[in-house]
């Protein structure tokens, strides 16, 4: 049976409105009350009176009786107005629905304007966007699991789609290991070298149980218990330098036997400032006594405060390796300081699943100069320029991410943030066997020797110096050592 609404009109004159309400009530009693089925009554009195009764009745009956309604009273079919329907996407990893996965939608409205919306999958693995689907469409969807699975990029996904994320490959070696010359198992790489990491924190992850958590420095306050990772980035970076595998399938760091010291300077939004970074450098100088420090952080303009702190590190014999930046512009700071080592990011053909975010890091098809030997390329996002000292893998890189205590998890990330710790790991491994370096006392000469060793470890991969600097640092191959 169809549903109708019987209502009184509203008039500017309150008395006219009250009269219409009274007339509507009379019409209900006389015309509909006996034959119609009431649904609900929303009549209200007061200063703005309104008669409103919802009922079910036959169409022809209502049509006929509507002709005899008094002035100020009307009847109309019920019109359903829905709230904006949510767009839902279920995210799967294998047979499991994945919870807490970042899902980013690019929305395009009828005028061609685009907007971004982000959400997390809920306990049922469902990502829900509350948008007016009549006014805009989802142009693309990026699904980013924190660990274990590849990300997915979907173009013009159909609402309700089930998004399948494929599992990451198992270790022990990824393409980046091979690329820098890690062959076979050598748990002693990096022995005796102390590497500092300034990032979003570290762990927990059982492969990084040996990392020295030096706390957090946020707004100048050093919280010695606050060094756990608040983002995931710092754990990934630390693992690339020095993760120690517990199982055959775990990915090792490039220098698993180095000593890691980690300071968190970023809050949950993954931002920091030069003052907290400078304070973290001081902690890694003393008491940690780092040999190398990795800074996978970048800003568009230089800070004298940060440059001074890096100069202090050099005086203490510490070389700072820095991510060049991910804005595809000239190298950012602190990487661009001449005292630092700027590392750009490379990919290679097949380094990531084709439907993943990582796969979008290839340079544009006409950028021939950004393709090097052995199917390598400068990552589309990588900063470049004369300040680039060396290049290292930075696309489709799998490393440790935060996990429940005692557990191990790996996730994939892209960025010069990944390239820098890989170069740092190679340098740590090279320095651990460099007799000259080990013999030099802590001071500027020691940092200079580290730079020299890094320079000598670089291999040309056929890219311009603005992209690769001196090339890709590699470990000594066993064949060459013989």
């Amino acid at each position: 049976m169809p549903t109708f609404v019987l209502a009184s009109r509203r008039f500017a004159d309150a008395r006219a409105s009250a009269a219409a309400l009274k007339a509507a009530d009379g019409a209900w009693r006389e015309l509909f009350a006996r034959s119609a089925t009431p649904v609900f009554d929303a009549t209200r009195a007061g200063p703005r009176p309104r008669y409103l009764r919802v009922f079910e009745a036959a169409n022809d009956e209502v049509e006929q009786k509507a002709r005899s309604l008094p002035n100020g009273v009307f009847v109309e079919p019920e019109v359903i107005h829905e709230i904006a329907a949510p767009l839902r996407f279920a995210v799967y990893g294998g047979d499991e629905r994945l919870t807490g996965v970042h899902v980013i939608a690019t929305l395009r409205d009828g005028d061609g304007n685009t907007d971004m919306a982000m959400t997390l999958t809920d306990a049922d693995g469902v990502a829900q966007f509350i948008i007016d689907a009549s006014d805009c469409a989802v142009e693309s969807l990026v699904v980013h699991p924190l660990s274990t699975f590849w990300s997915r990029v979907l173009w013009q996904p159909i609402p309700g789609l089930e998004v399948q994320c494929e599992p990451l490959p198992s270790g022990p070696h990824g393409w980046w290991h091979e690329f820098v010359g890690v062959v076979g198992d050598d748990p002693g790489r990096g022995k005796g070298i102390r590497v500092g990491i300034i990032d979003t924190g570290v762990g927990p992850n059982a492969c990084l149980g040996h990392a020295e958590n030096l706390g957090a420095i946020i707004d100048g306050v050093h919280d010695t218990d606050g060094g756990s990772d608040v983002h995931g980035h710092g754990t990934h970076v630390a693992g690339l330098v020095g993760a120690r595998p517990l199982r055959r399938t775990d990915y090792p760091g490039i220098a698993p036997d180095c000593s890691l010291g980690c300071v968190r300077v970023c809050s949950e939004d993954a931002e920091t400032n030069q003052v907290d970074i400078a304070a973290a450098l001081e902690v890694l100088m003393d008491p940690f006594a780092a040999d190398l420090i990795n800074l996978s952080l970048a800003a568009p303009k230089p800070s004298q405060v940060l440059q001074d702190a890096i100069l202090d590190c050099l005086d203490a014999g510490i070389l700072c390796l820095c991510a060049a930046g991910n804005t595809a512009e000239t190298v950012r700071y602190p990487a661009a300081f001449p005292e630092a080592v700027a590392v750009s990011a490379l990919g290679t053909k097949g380094c990531a699943r084709e439907d993943s975010v990582s796969a979008g890091s290839q340079p544009a098809g006409d950028a021939v100069d950004q393709h090097g030997n052995l199917d390598t390329f400068l990552a589309r996002f990588s900063c470049r320029g004369e300040r680039v000292f060396c290049a290292a893998p930075g696309v489709g890189i799998i490393s440790t991410v935060p996990a429940p205590p005692g557990e191990v998890r790996f996730g994939v990330m892209d960025g010069t943030s990944m390239a820098s710790p890989i170069a740092c790991g190679v340098l740590a491994a090279r320095l651990s066997t460099d007799r000259v370096y080990r013999a030099v006392t802590r001071g500027p000469e020691r940092a200079a020797r580290a730079r020299t060793v890094l320079r000598a470890a670089c291999h040309d991969i056929g890219l311009g110096s603005a992209y690769q600097g001196h090339g890709v640092p590699r470990l000594e191959s066993k064949r060459r050592r013989r």
Partner: protein, 76 residues
């Protein structure tokens, strides 16, 4: 109209770390319109205030210090 308050770092120049006046932090604190954020560090201070106030503080400390705005750094 007064310039809106911004956040700056006032830092001791590397070459003057040994001879900066011992009361340099108090000198900064004494400048009207500047708020020194805690905790303080013997080499640098984070302050909020107008550029004019920061310049005034630095001019009182001659060539011993410099200042710059707080610069956001992101993970790369």
């Amino acid at each position: 109209m007064a310039a809106s308050a911004r956040t700056f770092v006032i830092a001791v120049k590397r070459e003057h770390r040994g001879d900066v006046p011992r009361d340099w932090i108090d000198t900064v604190r004494s400048v009207a319109g500047l708020v020194v954020k805690e905790p303080v560090n013997s080499r640098r201070l984070v302050v909020t205030g107008s550029p004019t106030a920061v310049e005034s503080a630095c001019s009182r400390l001659s060539d011993f210090v410099y200042f710059e705005e707080l610069i956001s750094h992101d993970i790369a």
